[in-house]
């Protein structure tokens, strides 16, 4: 049994939440790419196609597509179907605005890089906490 993994990064939207880790190397377009009612990924060919982002600590490199995607994150949040937290390699305005409006904890520039540890981390229970410009994801079970 190894040590518990801790991933630190730049904190962008404050908050604290728990959820399972959902990790993809594909960028996400929230407008058109994610069902605003259920949180299911609709984009064909996407690594997460058919999976739901609801309640997960969602890790994806960055957002893409229409800027209206911010509203989708807000709508997911209002219906309780938003990710519990978001971790990007590098956040861009669509995701930042969506997380601010939906009050979803957000961090980027994670270290160590969780996208390199996808196989070990995927599906594990974790806690995200963002405060004062610093974001931390703690994996609650030992890897």
């Amino acid at each position: 049994m190894g040590a518990a993994v801790e991933i630190r990064g730049r904190g962008l939207v404050g908050g604290r939440a728990r959820g399972r880790l959902l990790i993809t190397r594909d960028p996400i377009s929230f407008y058109g790419g994610v069902d605003p009612e259920t949180g299911r990924v609709l984009e064909r060919g996407h690594e997460l196609y058919g999976e739901s982002v609801a309640g997960a600590i969602l890790m994806f490199p960055y957002g893409k597509g229409s800027t209206v995607g911010s509203y989708t994150l807000l709508r997911l949040a209002k219906r309780g179907k938003a990710p519990a937290g978001v971790v990007n390699l590098e956040s861009e305005p669509i995701v930042v605005i969506g997380c601010v409006l939906g009050r979803i904890p957000l961090m980027d520039r994670p270290s160590p890089n969780p996208f390199d540890m996808r196989n070990e981390l995927e599906g594990l229970e974790a806690e995200i906490s963002v405060e004062g410009g610093v974001g931390v994801v703690r994996v609650l079970r030992h890897v």
Binding site: L12, V13, P36, S66, T67, V68, S70, Y71, T72, L74, R75, K78, S91, E92, P93, I94, V96, I97, G98, V100, L101, D108
Partner: protein, 394 residues
Amino acid sequence: MHLTKEEEGLLRGEEGSELAEVFEAVVKVAEVLGATRLVKVSHAHISGISYRNLGVEGVEFLEDLASRGLRFAVPTTINPAGFDLSLAWEMGVRPWEYELQMRALRALSSMGAEMTLTCTPYLLRTPCFGEHLAWAESNAVLYANSVLGARTNREGGPLSVLEALVGRAPYVGLHTEEGRRPTVVVDASRLRDLVDKEGHYAALGYLVGELVRSGVPALRNPPRGLRAPENLKLFLAALGASSSVGLVLIEGVSPEYEAGEGLETLRPGEEELRGVAERWALDDFDHAVLGCPHLSPEELVSLAQALSGVSLKKEVLAFTSRWSAQRVPEAVESLRKRGVKVYYDTCMVVGNLSALGVRKCATDSAKAAYYLAAQGYEVALMPRSALLRAVAGG
């Protein structure tokens, strides 16, 4: 990130906690973009306000802001809606669609937006050289930056709402002096004659966008006809659709043009232009759609002249703003007499063409061709002159 005393007060809630929350969101975005400060803007233009773009979530977002008593801090105009407000039933709009759109417009109006419903805010009020704007519609951003020397990034729909409320934008990218220097050169000398001869201004814009993708291109040796406003509009809209470019420095047009000595220089040829011009092609079409970007008063007049005395072989749909139409009522009247359907407040991209019976359509706008093809329509791209010849029966 440096904030002024006034801005720090805003962030602390001196103007109310509702505005502080919006202000914080703009500051967060500014940090992510690497801005060192904010810049005051004099005019905001909000895109994505059609119910088809907003969805229920977007409408609820606008209503939420309005219900908190927030007001736009600067003059604010808005992009086209999902239908012509005075012709909703004729356009086949269903009651739930009408209601959703009107909820969005009521919220925007109560926050102080002018109901311009056009993608050409630069026609209604021409920004000055050096003026900072928070505009979200890509063709308008390209026009303001490239033709007028005003300064705005492609701010995006939701961000432009927040920027309008705080009257400020992140000082980064095209707002800054450094961000407006060319990063790559496109020399059009090998294809300028073909563009002028056949009128492929939209295809040229799309090609430049595909070649450079992002950054600030300098366009050297542009076709002569590109200076005409109607060609410039089609060129810039197409460039915005195929790239993330927000400023192109055009020789002989852009006040900030510089030759970009020493930069990588691309020299596309006629075959590459043909590749774009022929990408959207059809043997036949049922509708011709014009007005992406919205037709100006001058374009309405020249369209009316071109179609006077002809009987139309195809349905023609023309999209413009209420403002432009009111400048030239005789031209609009003459077009309608000829059988042209003239619509205000909306356009082919954010409206619902299928409800108007459109299946296969031809357009002179590469931006429209791109977005209509993505919506499942069969589309042909034709230079305006060729399109008008095709619809005129003589």
